[in-house]
């Protein structure tokens, strides 16, 4: 076959593969875990993520020691508490995020589900907002984004990203990253990036089930 024609066909195929990667992309595993012995209810016919039962094994939850301090923060939004110590006795999800990060935004609906499901069972979320770009550091922009995205949990302002870097080992830190703290403030679970929502849900359940 003519090499030029072959290359042209190849270019079209690669372009189609790139397009297919978008078309065929699923949304990860949006279905949260439920207790494996939970009885299905009528609402399980609903395909929404909040009601689809998926049994997921509880991940290992090794005790990685007490969480680091919040370093050089600029305050809290949407909160009466002013330190993580005030949340002792609760299972806390600490999520590093910034509002323009598309992967962070993709996690928000799943965080909302956790908050709605376990918020009255001793579970709290703290979103540590560590801006990547200048416009993300402006508090009005953060407040506007939080309202738009439905972030109703406490937000810590980490404008200089000192906490962002002090919590994450090595020179590179990432958004989004979630840590689960047990009722004593120890780090028990850690995940970088989107996804693993069912696993995170199972970890929250397991930590809530631990005696305080």
């Amino acid at each position: 076959m003519n090499p030029r024609l072959l290359a042209g066909v190849g270019a079209v195929v690669v372009a189609l593969v790139i397009g297919a990667a978008f078309v065929l992309a699923d949304d990860g595993d949006p279905a949260p875990a439920v207790q494996s012995d939970a009885a299905p209810t009528a609402s399980t016919a609903d395909t929404s993520p909040t009601t689809t039962p998926v049994a997921v094994a509880t991940p290992d939850l090794p005790n990685r020691g007490p969480h680091p301090e919040l370093v050089d923060i600029d305050g809290w939004l949407q909160s009466d508490v002013t330190s993580l110590e005030e949340l002792r006795g609760k299972v806390v999800a600490v999520q590093f995020w910034t509002f323009a990060c598309r992967n962070c935004r993709a996690t928000i609906p799943h965080m909302q589900e956790l908050y709605e499901r376990y918020g009255d069972q001793g579970f709290e979320i703290v979103g540590i907002h560590a801006p990547e770009f200048g416009y993300e550091a402006e508090v009005p922009n953060i407040e506007e984004a939080a309202a738009e995205l439905g972030v109703t949990w406490p937000i810590v302002l980490d404008t200089n990203k000192r906490t962002f870097h002090s919590w994450q080992e090595g020179p590179t830190a990432h958004w989004p990253r979630i840590y689960l703290l047990d009722r004593d403030g120890n780090i028990r679970y850690d995940h970088i990036g989107e996804g693993r929502y069912a696993e995170t849900d199972a970890a929250v359940q397991a930590l809530l089930a631990e005696p305080s």
């Binding site: 690669v14 790139i18 993709a106 990547e132 020179p171 590179t172 995940h191 990036g193």
Partner: protein
Amino acid sequence: MLPAFFEAIRASVQPCTLLLLTPALVLAIVTRGRWTSFAAICVGAVLGGWLFIANVVALDGWQLPVSGAVVLTAIALVLGAPSVPRLHWATAASIEAAVAGLVTFVATLWWRPCIGEELGSILTGARAGVGAELPGITAYMLGAMAPVLAVVLLVRAIDPSPVAARWAGWCAGGIGLVVAAAVAVGRHDELVTALTRWTTS
């Protein structure tokens, strides 16, 4: 590994990866879609990916301006190579390939990855041990190079005349030089911000 490959393909056309790809795309055009250069670009990207998940290099600080200067110099070198008298074509091709690999490797410092589910799992796993995640990040980086492969094939399909190829090379090289110069003078974040806001506006 396949999900990582496809996640990277999706990320490759987003601002987070576009800056990493810019020098590779430029070099694919400047080197007229030469396969040796494309192979070197892939090797450079994979090695950069390994370095990234090893978490030993900071994503900012002095490394960024230095990397910008290195890429600037390298692209200028490749653009100038054809004017070197009596340079054997095989020697020129080897230089181009070496430079393409080096530039892509260095440009991985410019990468602000979109951390989706697959890359997130790779990074989380790498905290426990990098070795087990090398196949995953290799697949990811190869997936991220899909647009470069498309450009390589396109250039080969068009097979431009020497004059047209030279002009295309100068145009692409000019873009590469401007981007590299911007990184060299500390404007990397502004570039990423501009790309991000442009694509999300």
